[in-house]
Amino acid sequence: MNILIAIGGREYSKLTLDLGMKVSNSFEASTTIAYVGKKISQFAEKDVSIVHQSLDERQLYRPGVRTLEWAYDFLKSKEYIEEEKVATFNDYLLIDEEQSRMRVLLKGKHSNKINLILRTGEIIEQLRSEVQDNNHDITIIGGGNNKGMHHDLVQFIDSSVLVVKNYSVKKQYKILLPVNNSKGSNKAIEIAEQFAKSNKLFVEIVTVLENKSSDNTLKKILERTEEKFSNAGIKNTATILEGNVVKRIVENAGDDSIIMLGVSPKNPITKYFFGSKPISITAQCNCPVLVAK
């Protein structure tokens, strides 16, 4: 499994890194940490590139390298990664892999588990390209309050997306797993099972009935999921909720859940113009949300 963690400023990225590495370690996944630098206007892109080359030559390094170095040290201090003793460098190495993408090898540091990537440009475009080119299964990104970005992330990134909103390392989290009869929901169940098992988390499985003909199917899926988790030795409860799906899930999640749900099966055009339940939940909830694809 490949996991992509996108980071920005240092203060805000600690929690994203922390939860991101917990997810990554649950799957023993290969992890890429990407810093996406500011989008440069086409007028100045060559000028900026010349300046950055010049800074690298003088060991002043382009923006983002120090943040990646900080991220690496943070993960090491939290024992999420172990440093390999094999390869060391006397200087930072920035390998220009393709347009707007650079792989960073830090001075004197090396871990096989982590790839450090520097990208420049519009964030959705860069993450989409990173996911497509490197087949990442989950993209993890900090919350913020940008609802438009949440919408675009879920809509356009071709991987599951974990938005780390209002996360605290001190809080005891449970997984809130809304289930239904979509493909995305099956994927969410898989991810939740692995993550809960690995981090010994309690799972609250829910399904929301909306007085539709599919209600019986949903009840069966709920029972099946409960059985699956119990057989795997994961503590869980299964609850049937009624009413507005978005409202009930957001209420139930509070601020001490990690919501894991499947992407909407609606067609992309409807989702783009009218949104979807997962997009609304991501925007409205006050806790981390994973939308599985």
Binding site: K46, D47, V48, I50, R58, L60, P268
Partner: protein
């Protein structure tokens, strides 16, 4: 089948979300074309204004690459009957375009020589007695050099010096943060202010010289421009010093000027010779701009500089080719061509007429139209970049008062006041790309600087230019 449909519709949606401004600009253009031509405008003139509107949308939102915008501008001028293909082709290349090309290449050749360390030593030797004096020196030297060699060249040389001296400053304290901003803004404002000083300071200056010559037969040489612009530059530097001092109060405690001096003390003979030779070439080119700009054109002279660097083996073609922004060169060529057609078709005169009709209720004072044009070009350049602004609004500025040189000159100079946004010029974008300056801070300090610059320009044009 359903998955296939989802993949295709998702790809189309993504394309739309990225290119929506391109789609909107096409829709706007189609709507305008279907409307009746406004009274007083010919069809080609009307169409040239529609293309101008499209270019504004496309350049500010960047949904497609610049070379594509340039090609679209050219193609549309022919397809919409603005002018025949031969006329468009001949207006595509002139000395201003050669200057854009030459100055971009010349900048790459100069930066490739690694002159920043040499320059740092000189600045420290002259201004190194105190940290504040050093920063003032950094700003003044940036301004003077940028006035001759262009802001994109000088910011690339000066920024490593600035970043080196703030390397150890703690950005988590307010004092440290202000110190970092003060250093970066001193360099940034120095280079931005400097770029108005001479014709070679920025492509917009050369574009305006070309327009004045073509549309009004007024010839402005290198010296003339300096006489007009340098006093503004000097007053702006003094104002900028105090604006920055007021905006970023700091003790400059961890700014290490002497430490940096020690770290760059060593240099070998080969580097010394290379630097000496580079300086000779730069000196030769600047002298030629002064002496032969009328005969040879600024563009050809800057290309000569690139040629000498390449023939002497001081910069490989691969480096120039890789780092030259060919898209910008094409875009300037296309917008200059459009600017010419806006004037030739009478669209510029029509816009000026409409402007005069709108302002007929105001007192008949040229100060009003002057202020309007200066503020409009200044503001537009902050969202559209300065050279593109001059190439498109320049003809209208001249048309407002064809016999008064101050309108054209003010439009070109005001479009160099790139203090408000980070997209306005390469310097602003480079400073922003360090990740140490936010858009908000840039705007806040820039607003003060922009307003005072417009005021300075007004006072100088009103009381000093009339004496020339």
């Amino acid at each position: 089948m359903q998955d296939y449909y989802k993949i295709v519709s998702s790809s189309i949606l993504y394309w739309f979300s990225q290119k929506k401004w391109f789609v909107f600009s096409i829709i706007f253009a189609l709507i305008f074309i279907s409307l009746p031509t406004p009274i007083g405008l010919t069809v080609p003139a009307y169409h040239s204004l529609i293309i101008l509107f499209m270019v504004f949308i496309l350049v500010t939102s960047e949904p497609i690459p610049f070379p594509a915008i340039a090609l679209l501008t050219l193609v549309l001028q022919v397809l919409l009957g603005v002018a025949p293909a031969d006329v468009i082709a001949s207006s595509f290349m002139n000395d201003a375009v050669l200057f854009v090309m030459g100055s971009l290449m010349f900048a790459i050749a100069i930066v490739h020589q690694g002159l920043d360390i040499r320059l740092a030593k000189i600045i420290i030797a002259i201004f190194g007695k105190s940290k504040r004096l050093f920063l003032a020196g950094l700003m003044v030297v940036s301004a003077i050099l940028s006035s001759f060699l262009g802001e994109h060249t000088i910011i690339a040389i000066m920024l490593p010096i600035g970043l080196a001296i703030i390397k150890n400053v703690d950005s988590s304290t307010l004092d440290g943060k202000n110190a970092i901003l003060l250093v970066l803004f001193s360099i940034g404002y120095g280079t931005i202010i400097g770029s108005i000083g001479t014709p070679s300071g920025g492509a917009r200056n050369v574009i305006m010289i070309n327009y004045l010559q073509e549309f009004t037969n007024i010839q402005i040489d290198y010296w003339d421009w300096i006489k007009y612009a340098y006093p503004i530059l000097m007053i702006q530097l003094v104002v900028a010093y105090f604006v920055l001092k007021f905006a970023f109060p700091t003790s400059l405690d961890n700014v290490r000027v002497q430490g940096y001096k020690r770290s760059i003390a060593k240099s070998n003979s080969a580097t010394n010779i290379k630097h000496l030779f580079s300086c000779l070439i730069i000196g030769l080119i600047i002298t030629s701009w002064f002496l032969f700009n009328q005969e040879l054109g600024l563009g050809i002279i800057s290309l000569c500089g690139v040629l000498i660097f390449m023939i002497c083996g001081m910069v490989p073609w691969e480096v120039i080719n890789k780092n030259t922004n060919w898209g910008v060169i094409l875009l300037f060529a296309a917008t200059i061509s459009l600017g010419f057609q806006i004037n030739e078709t009478g669209a510029a005169s029509w816009l000026v007429e409409k402007f005069n009709e709108l302002t007929s209720s105001f007192p008949e004072d040229s100060s009003f139209s002057w202020s309007f044009m200066a503020i409009l070009t200044g503001l537009t350049s902050n969202f559209f970049t300065s050279s593109a602004t001059t190439s498109l609004l320049g003809p209208m500025a001249i048309e407002l008062q064809p016999n008064d040189i101050s309108f054209g000159m003010s439009a070109a100079i005001a479009s160099g006041f790139s203090f408000l946004t980070v997209i306005s010029c390469p310097t602003a974008m480079i400073i922003y790309s360090t990740g140490l300056v936010s858009i908000k801070i840039f705007f806040r300090v820039g607003l003060l600087m922009f307003s005072s610059s417009i005021l300075i320009l007004y006072l100088v044009s009103k009381f000093y230019w009339v004496t020339l």
